[in-house]
Amino acid sequence: MKFRDARMETRTAVELVCLTLSLASIFFQIWILSTSWEAYFQGHTQRLLPALIFSCVSFLVCALTAWTTGMSFMKGMDEGRTNTYHKHTPFKGD
């Protein structure tokens, strides 16, 4: 994808990295949840706390990516570059 604006290109790259991180975290969490159930059924309850901690870290990664992209979005708004991109975003100065 080639943009005329280099900043747009950078932001798209950031979004793609965030998207990849989020997806990886989700798959990791799905695996953690399934192994947590297995450990619970097998009576290995000592494994549940580390699983919860890893799941928490994965969620933080997801939240961080959402925050990063959100921050990028706000930055774009301030610079007047995303006005027509989101339907709920009013025109600045209208």
């Binding site: 005329r4 793609l16 919860l52 997801c62 990516t65």
Partner: protein, 178 residues
């Protein structure tokens, strides 16, 4: 691009900005899910998965208050033939048990949940052992020890007493019920 929007952008920026050429769509026509929205949605999914994992963790602390009630008849006299088995609910607990009649006066009983992933174990008369059909595990009928398969712990053994009118449940002999 839509003419009124183009006019407003020119008024604001004095010239049409480059980003407007990249994203030349009207806001109300934007029906697609953006990458940002998708990432936010993934965060919500992630929170759901975290909640699920926390639920499993908290569930591990929960212990049922109900204790097994001893002295309850679980089988009638000669209700099952030698070499046969019968499932029953462990008195005082909402858990299944399985009783096997080994000979005329010998009964053994175990918790029926497999210690691997809690599938119900079944009595295999031909093989002479308790088998778990889910993941091909097997337990010895004499003492509930693991014969083969993925289970790591023996079955919880139940104490039973044979009376003239039937078989009575006395309590948990070894292992623990969940």
């Amino acid at each position: 691009m839509n003419e009124p929007i183009q006019k407003r952008l020119k008024n604001k920026f004095s010239a049409l900005p480059k980003w407007a050429e990249d994203f030349s769509i009207e806001a109300n026509q934007d029906k697609n899910v953006s990458r940002r929205d998708f990432i936010r949605f993934l965060s919500l999914v992630s929170f759901g998965l975290l909640t699920g994992t926390a639920g499993v963790f908290l569930k591990s602390f929960y212990k049922s208050d109900s204790a097994p009630v001893s002295g309850v008849k679980i089988l009638g006299a000669n209700e099952i033939a030698v070499g046969e088995s019968r499932s029953f609910t462990i008195p005082g607990k909402r858990e299944p048990g399985i009783a096997v009649r080994l000979n005329e006066n010998t009964y053994v009983a175990y918790g029926q949940k497999c210690t691997h992933l809690q599938c119900p174990v079944l009595w295999s008369k031909d093989a002479g052992k308790l088998v778990c059909p889910c993941h091909n595990g097997a337990f010895a009928v004499e003492d509930g020890r693991v014969l083969y398969g993925p289970p790591e712990r023996p079955l919880p053994q139940l104490d039973v007493a044979v009376q003239s009118d039937g078989v009575y449940f006395l309590g948990v002999k070894s292992g623990s019920l969940t």
